[in-house]
Symmetry: C2
Subunit: 615 residues, 2 copies
């Protein structure tokens, strides 16, 4: 169990910050909630080299209990709290980027916080340390960036409370960052997460050793309260699954540790250890200050408020959440993503499958998925040359691999005949939303053709990863849950290619497409194709429509079977106008003009909710 005792500790106890640099700003800092600080010192560490253009800097923001030591500086250095993700050749590649990580305002690892001496009194601030918000923390980070003579950061990256900082940079200093990576974060805490913070703070401030915050001269300080707070925090960082995995097999066999806490159960000894260790390295007033900072953070409670804040951003976005994170649950990342979509921002999003809970963002378990997405997102930010279909830093094999493994992809050949027709049907330069975009092949072809505003929606995590690796803007979402984030007529074209047959609620998806797009393009396998008719009539067998590559009636991803005539009738019923149609016999490899319901195996139909320009 020794290893796991370390997993959530973002700072090692007793370590000195050997590589930290310090800068003190002597002007008074006026804080958002009215307080002020006569001067502010910032402790920070840097990695890699700032290039001549000063445009390769990445700011990494730590979470509540972190510090400036994000990664080791040399091999025998102490590991940093994000050592798996930051370093030479790692996702945030210090061979390529100049990485800056400052300890945040209100912390206790070198930057001004409650345990710093207030020069006006000669004593530590203690409970007199003013309320600090994310705005204040970012203001101090910006001073540091100014001091380093950097105007535009390549990216700001952060998870949890660090994610709040990334959101703030993007929103309130929009011209100063090119990209934002916000991980396991939220527009504001859920009431549940806030409630845990309230209980934790009460445990500290009601500890008799708290002495109204001036415990520095009174012995040990509120150690019990701080340990209780940390124990509680730890439960919220882990998922239920992770706790079962960690503690269920030896539930009644606690680890033998010296502590005054109850250690009757294995999880009890784990929590007692975490509580005791935390007290050795963290200041209770910093905990109170930063816990309140998290709780006060509020980018908006409603879609309208969120649009007002996030709408100011100008950067490209990568949002990552973890499926088992219940402290910053997935739906909160979706709120951010949905707002950015609605505001027409360039955003990619993945809800990474993980059993590790909130802790996933610090652990190596999802390095291959979220780490690689971060790496390629940064590479694409950095590289302004036009991307081609072949452009994929993960290597074309890797892209192809994951595309080929996507079980919802109907046609598994690399070149899709229907894409040729779809591309032709889209006006040059038009904006395009591709629903069920797979590995992004159609979008990549459109980008090659010069389309700038293009975006994809896809459910499969591997396909999302491949698309992000290609530098495309793709969002992980389930079409069956609608397109509510999108505004009316937000795209010139909405494409649903070879996906209609896997959709359960067809009328809803179609009506959403027609709402969001000026025109919509739907392609689907035609059940009326002569070969399919023959299978049923002559052989008495279920047609293999939409089931290439060895699928059969009992395992095909196709759940909707329709002919061109069926589709036309549905359009008529719903009042949709068919603008153009292209019909293909992909098995023979040509277009079909005559009696398509009999002769075509694939139909491509352009529809709209008005008459459009009939061609």
């Amino acid at each position: 169990m020794t290893d796991s005792f370390e997993s959530s500790d973002s700072v090692r106890s007793g370590r000195t910050l050997k590589y930290a640099q310090y800068i003190t700003f002597d002007e008074v800092l006026h804080l958002e909630h009215g307080g002020e600080l006569p001067q502010v010192t910032v402790a920070y560490e840097t990695y890699g080299k700032l290039n001549a253009n000063r445009d390769n800097a990445v700011l990494v923001c730590h979470a509540l209990s972190g510090d400036s030591h994000v990664a080791r500086h040399e091999e025998d250095d102490d590991p940093g709290w994000w050592d798996f993700y930051v370093g030479p050749g790692k996702p945030i590649d210090t061979d390529r980027y100049f990485v800056i990580c400052p300890n945040i305002l209100g912390g206790c690892r070198g930057t001004t916080g409650p345990n710093s001496i207030d020069q006006r009194t000669g004593r530590p601030y203690g409970a007199d340390f003013p309320v600090v918000t994310i705005a204040d923390i970012v203001a101090v980070q910006a001073k540091l960036i100014d001091h380093l003579h950097i105007y535009q950061l390549l990216a700001v990256v952060g998870g949890s409370l660090g994610g709040h900082m990334a959101l703030w940079w993007a929103t309130y200093l929009p011209d100063r960052i090119k990209g934002t990576i916000a991980i396991a974060t939220s527009p504001r805490l859920t009431s549940q997460s806030l409630a845990f913070d309230v209980v934790a703070r009460n445990a500290i401030i009601r500890d008799p050793n708290y002495h109204a915050g001036q415990y520095y001269d009174h012995g040990p300080g509120p150690q019990t309260g701080l340990a209780i707070a940390r124990m509680l925090g730890h439960i919220t960082y882990l998922s239920r699954e992770a706790m079962i995995e960690k503690f269920d097999s030896d539930r009644f066999n606690p680890r033998d540790i010296r502590t005054e806490f109850e250690t009757r159960f294995s999880v009890g000894s784990y929590l007692a250890y975490q509580g005791d260790r935390f007290v050795e390295r963290f200041d209770a007033n910093s905990y109170l200050t930063l816990s309140m900072t998290v709780d006060l953070f509020n980018l908006g409670a409603t879609p309208r408020e969120l649009a007002d804040t996030l709408g100011r951003s100008q950067c490209r976005w990568l949002i990552i959440s973890f499926s088992s994170d219940w402290l910053f649950p997935t739906f909160q990342s979706r709120e951010i993503v949905d707002t950015l979509i609605h505001e027409g921002k360039a955003v990619s999003y993945c809800n990474v499958r993980s059993d590790c809970g909130h802790d996933a963002f610090l652990l190596p378990n999802e390095l291959d998925s979220y780490g690689e997405m971060m790496r390629l997102f940064l590479v694409n930010l950095d590289d302004d040359t036009p991307k081609t279909t072949q452009w994929c830093a993960a290597g074309p094999e890797k892209c192809c691999d994951s595309a080929m493994q996507n079980p919802t992809s109907i046609f598994h050949q690399h070149h899709r005949l229907d894409y040729d027709s779809i591309v032709e049907l889209i006006a040059p330069g038009a904006s395009v939303l591709d629903l069920g975009c797979g590995n992004g092949e159609l979008l990549a072809r459109l980008r090659e053709r010069g389309h700038e505003r293009i975006m994809g929606i896809e459910l499969d995590q591997d396909s999302i990863k491949t698309s992000i690796c290609r530098g495309l803007d793709v969002v992980q979402a389930d079409l069956n849950q609608g397109l509510s984030a999108f505004g009316d007529k937000q795209f010139d074209f909405v494409v649903l290619s070879q996906t209609l047959q896997a959709v359960h609620d067809v009328p809803r998806v179609l009506s959403e497409m027609l709402r969001v797009g000026i025109e919509s393009i739907v392609s689907f396998p035609n059940l009326g194709y002569h070969e399919y008719r023959r299978e049923l009539v002559e052989q008495g067998r279920a047609p293999h429509a939409g089931s290439a590559d060895g699928y059969n009636w009992y395992n095909t991803p196709t759940v909707r079977f329709l002919s061109i005539a069926d589709f036309e009738e549905l359009c008529k019923q719903q009042g949709y106008h068919i603008h153009r149609q292209v019909h293909l016999d992909t098995q023979a490899g040509h277009r079909v003009d005559e009696d398509p319901n009999l002769n075509a195996d694939v139909a491509i139909v352009v529809i709209g909710d008005s008459e459009g320009n009939m061609q």
Copy 2:
């Protein structure tokens, strides 16, 4: 917000137990973990009348902070902690049953607990009160039942910790109960839930006012620690959704209450209020004792251990969980249910849709669903006359209503022609498992015919409710997730009638059926039917196979289309043997003998994994 401040409080502060009766047992009680108590007093309340046969008694077990006052005794009485569910005409109907609710051992509301005087010392037990387990609590409850001259209880009912008692009664006193209703409970806590208890206990025992448990002579006792414990508990009783609903709109507007706790946020004032009120009415040592009782409860960690304990039961079971309960999550009720299934016990189960979290079991929100299931389960226990299809205390209209609303039901007429054939294919007296049993019509017909070991699986909550109302044993489960709970060849027949076409992974469901049943009966719509062929060939349209009642290709629950020939080929591929087949033309209303793949719209096929008795 006043109302909600009450919702989770199972006891009102300051109330006297006006209707409680007391009985003292003077013999020494030897406890499971080695301690002993020289005498035990039990406080209890009763409702309704014990009948002449002494067989209408229902024991209600309260949870951690409850007491004997489960319901009001007269109109102007204080409401009880389960007032919505217990009383004249209510689900646990005191006009019909003799309801007994004792305060549990270790509590602080009349039954012997840590604040009782130890007659050996003349002082309260305090921290010297011995460790008490569910076995001990149930032993004391059994003494009370003996004292009331009741041998067999009609049922034991309990939620949460009270559910643990119900599980214990069923398992270790199997001949003394006829039925068990276990609500929002588990075989043992998750490590996550246990971890919260550990933190809560540590907050109490590290409170300087705890005085090693002998605080009774030292002023107020560990009020801060107990309040912190209660605050934490409250978070775990509510779902995330419920907390958003309750606190999100006025997050920054706390209620103005007198408290020494932080009340900066609305949820903060709520928790502070709950903490302060709890301290007024509950004893910290009782909290520690009963919290440890919950944590030590362990009916088994593995399926084998659970089979060893739950396998001893002889009663009928109703298990209820709530979808948003994360303290006693759904999967834990499923562990109990799966074990009971495996052991061949008579069990019904429903995972009630609810946003109310663990609290749902105390609130009126799900009265119509879980309250009615309890009511009818008890009525069916009580009533030993054979049930008929018409027998349904909720009224036939109600049953039919919910059955008709079931969107996954293919044929909506009340009498299903295919059932006649299926019943004929089943040997008299055979045991039958009906997969996707809907409102239980087929099972009810089999019961009328004298079949005793019959059981259903269904996904739809309303259908489950209707089936339970009919007195059938039905378990809520998704066929797509397999039948892993069932043993090999556990039933003579497994039936899948008109459900195959809505199943995604057909081969898996079939192979599971063949594993669990000696024979399996599958009925499905035949795509080869001449009318369906005509629709495709002559009209070029998707056949309406399996889509009665106005469904169309774009909204039908049917996702698998197959002909009889397709099914036969799959059986051949998989090595399944077809024992018998019956073919129907339900549109014409007769059986089909000639060329069924052309002339039948429904096929009923009996298959097995051995050759069987060909007929």
